[in-house]
């Protein structure tokens, strides 16, 4: 079941589209915002709400890489692995994160604090290398800077 808050937020999106189903992506975003990720139950709840089958919702959900269909930590670190970052030190940043967090790409720390995911170009190539943690972009990174940044996330 979707919470009332979730329902309200999804309904607000209906006004933007001529069909209810078109709000499917918005609905996935809403559920993810509230629950951190989209579980099978989340998929079914959205399906119910939008008069779709779970298959139809999951068809969309699994296509997009920013719909998390598996649990993630409290904070998601997206590390840009595209070309400009790669040229300017991605490997070093990645290794440093691995070491600091004790996890590899796609994994979550044991304390559930961070999930580390690779991400295509974040569009900040003039300040590469970059990462995003939750909604915040961090650029011109060095290993030292990363240590500082991680402090900000509980």
């Amino acid at each position: 079941m979707l919470s009332e808050q979730e329902q309200r937020e999804i309904k607000a999106e209906f006004a933007h589209y001529p069909q209810k189903r078109a709000a499917c992506i918005e609905a996935l975003k809403v559920v993810q915002k509230h629950r951190g990720w989209v579980s099978d139950d989340g998929i079914k709840a959205i399906a119910d709400f939008l008069d779709m089958s779970p298959e139809e919702v999951d068809n969309v959900a699994t296509f997009y890489n920013l719909v998390f269909r598996k649990p993630v930590g409290r904070h998601v670190i997206l590390i840009c692995d595209s070309i400009s970052c790669w040229v300017t030190g991605y490997e070093q940043i990645k290794e440093h994160l691995f070491e600091r967090l004790g996890i590899a790409l796609g994994e979550t720390t044991k304390d559930n604090r961070f999930t580390l995911l690779p991400m295509a170009c974040l569009g900040a190539c003039d300040h590469a290398p970059v990462i995003m943690i939750d909604d915040d972009l961090y650029h011109d990174l060095t290993p030292e800077k990363i240590d500082q940044i991680l402090e900000n996330y509980e």
């Binding site: 069909q19 099978d40 089958s53 298959e55 139809e56 999951d58 068809n59 699994t62 296509f63």
Partner: protein, 905 residues
Amino acid sequence: MVTIHIDGTSYQVDEQQNLLEAILSLGLDLPYFCWHPAMGSVGACRQCAIKIYKDENDTQGKITMACMEPAKEGTYLSLNDAEAKEMRSHVIQWLMTNHPHDCPICDEGGECHLQDMTVMAGHAYRRHRYNKRTYRNQYLGPFINHEMNRCIQCYRCVRYYRDYAGGDDLDAFAAHNHVYFGRHEDGVLQNEFSGNLVEVCPTGVFTDKTLKSHYTRKWDLTTAPSICHHCSMGCNIIAGERYGSLRRIYARYNGKVNGYFICDRGRFGYEFVNSDKRIQQPMLRKERNADPEPTDKQTILRHIAERIQNNDRVIGIGSPIASLESNFALQQLVGENRFYGGISNSEDRLVKTVINILRQGPARTPSLKEIENADAILVLGEDLTNTAPMMALSLRQAVRNIQKKIAQKLNIPYWQDAAVREAAQEEYSPCYIATPAGTKLDEVARKSMRLAPVDIARLGFAVAHRISNDAPGVDNLSKELASLAAEIGESLKGAEHPLIVTGTSCRNENLLHASANIAAALKNAGAQPSISFTMHDANSMGLAMMNAGTLAQAKHEVQEGNADTVIILENDLYKRIDEDAATEFLDQCQHLIVLDYLHNKTTSKAEAVLPVSAFSETFGTLVNQEGRAQRFFEVHIPAEPVQAGWQWLKDLSTAAGKNAMSDWQNFHDFTRHLSNAMPQFKDIEAISPPPGYRVADQRIPRQSHRYSGRTAMHAHHNVHEKKTPQDKDSAFAFSMEGYRGQPPPSMIPLFWSPGWNSAQSINKYQIEVGGGLHGGDPGKRLIEPQEKADSPYFKNIPEPFEPGENRWLTLPGYHIFGSESLSMHTPGVAERAPGPYLSINDHDAAQLNIKDGADATYVVADRPYTLAVKINASLPRGVVELPAGLPGLPTAILPAWGKFSEASE
């Protein structure tokens, strides 16, 4: 027609087609995957690459996907161009990067489109030196096996399942080279047409689980053309046998009837043929109360001959699931006036009304293919997905007709499937459905309404009246129904191809009358209506056309002492009439002789039981609800002494010293005599060629040229090779030898063409892709409306439905799995069938204080039934439904009034 130039040769092709279709229609080869003749093009697989040139002088050309390019006048193209060929072989190479190299153990092997296309495209050498990706498979229910590693991502399955068949529980997941096709989670595929995935999938991802459970290689099957026996639509099928058991059913293309597809009941319901309830031996009860004992053919023939010799008190009861020939043989044995139909009175009246309406006019009954052209539809009383599944599938295509128009306006050819769907979104042609309970087709209906049968009929009468004032009007119609009638009337009147669909499942004659009135009114208003009636059984129409007496008359004869010996053909009367009435009747018969293939309650009462062949073990002709007579052929010979009903009846006749059939040599003689004896059947002889027919002096082989183990199959019994049985009844041979070219269209035992081992070879049998078969689609229509139909309107308009005080109108609720008894012998079908239940409107339930899922005791025809309650808010108040056809439930007597007994609380 336009002219296109392929590798220097000019051809005339249809400009409605895309180039792939045009090329295939010309009989040329071009590999493809994502395109499907029934589903059009989406351009995903990139397999159908050709070279197109700007004009005659262009030598450069451009590689293009043939399926995405319209056939335009003056197109210059090459199939043989080196680059185009290379592209095609690379596409296979890419597909094979992840495809397992497991052909030797793959269920699809030998009938695999991917295998064929790999050979055709010429890719042979693997250069990909990395690991393949692997997937987890899903449990998809009792019918379909899932093996995702074999997937080549052509997207056909989801396009078929969702877009064509209207399913919503199969989809594509994930992206890039991880795309996965399946369900959201393991579980039974819900769509009634899921079995076609087996044929639609070009590899072995979706395969037939029933075949897998007694697997045999496809080329080892003995096959023959057949007709589905599981409803009145008459879908064409190919049945395949190995080691004496039926192994699978495949759709047999018929451009007029079922096209490429069949429903899951038709595909998977065949296992009754292999059932351990089959009657293997003649059974004889020496004395009335003795147990029946197996006996041999001679003894039983002699025994029965004694009973019927010089006895003018013998009557025969025919069957709507037995062939015309078997029914006719029974009629010959007992005499014209002593042959009775074997269905309930009410059913008998309904079917005969249908025939009268169809013969009279005003409207023609369309074939399934023609139904797809309808652009405004009214369904009265039928839950088509469950009573006539393939008609439901046709209607799903019909409601898209408006999308054709939308596409046309935008200059999008209709074969551009995805583009048409994107342009048209959810626009559907008008379809109105009035039924007692909600139906699956409602999702594509403009409006659907829930009414008791008489009210559905009243709505229908009102529609007729709206269309033409001459049609009688309906008094006291609610405002809501009146405005609905107006809307429906307008919509039908304005359509180019209006269609009315009704049938016998509600067992209400008013519905048939109302439908006829609408058709007549439309006709009078200058429209070109068609009208289609569904019926209960595979040969309901054929039996009714024989003008047999009714079961009530038969009973009367027995009661009056005019008959003492009753021969029943392939018909369990307990499924036709009230149980007590059946018992009473059968007990009154002094000598009861039953011919059947499965033990049932009627056979258990018989003095003598004759084991007859099931459909795949013999020949016959059935008439479907369209009035199309179609022939089915023997696939395999049953173990002796099992033989065809008509053969037993002839043997009986001869044993009793009668001449009627004594010189009929083979099946074809039965057909010939029937077409001579009854003018309404005069065309049936010509449905298929006679047994003497040969092509290039050869018979048509039932076995593929790769058929293996012929000499070894019986080696554990006998090392001598058995003589191949001779087929005296048809021009088929039980052999791999024979004519390998294209047989006449009624005699296609399997679709195969050099280089085309899968069902995709159907292209080679068609005049043009998706069109009729070379030589004409098989079957003969027996009923056409009178030239200038001047059919009077039916005038008896029923009173509106009045829910009773403490009584409920009990109606049969149909289930594709469960309401038809033969298919229930397939374990998978039984698994999919509902348990006994009673469904009732939520208000009524609340009033009675019964909860969903609770047991209630319900009394119909004085007998109590304890049933689980299913609340179905769609039902009108005052109506309850019981699942039709389930053992132990009184389907035969419905509709009837019933009531809840006190005990139910």
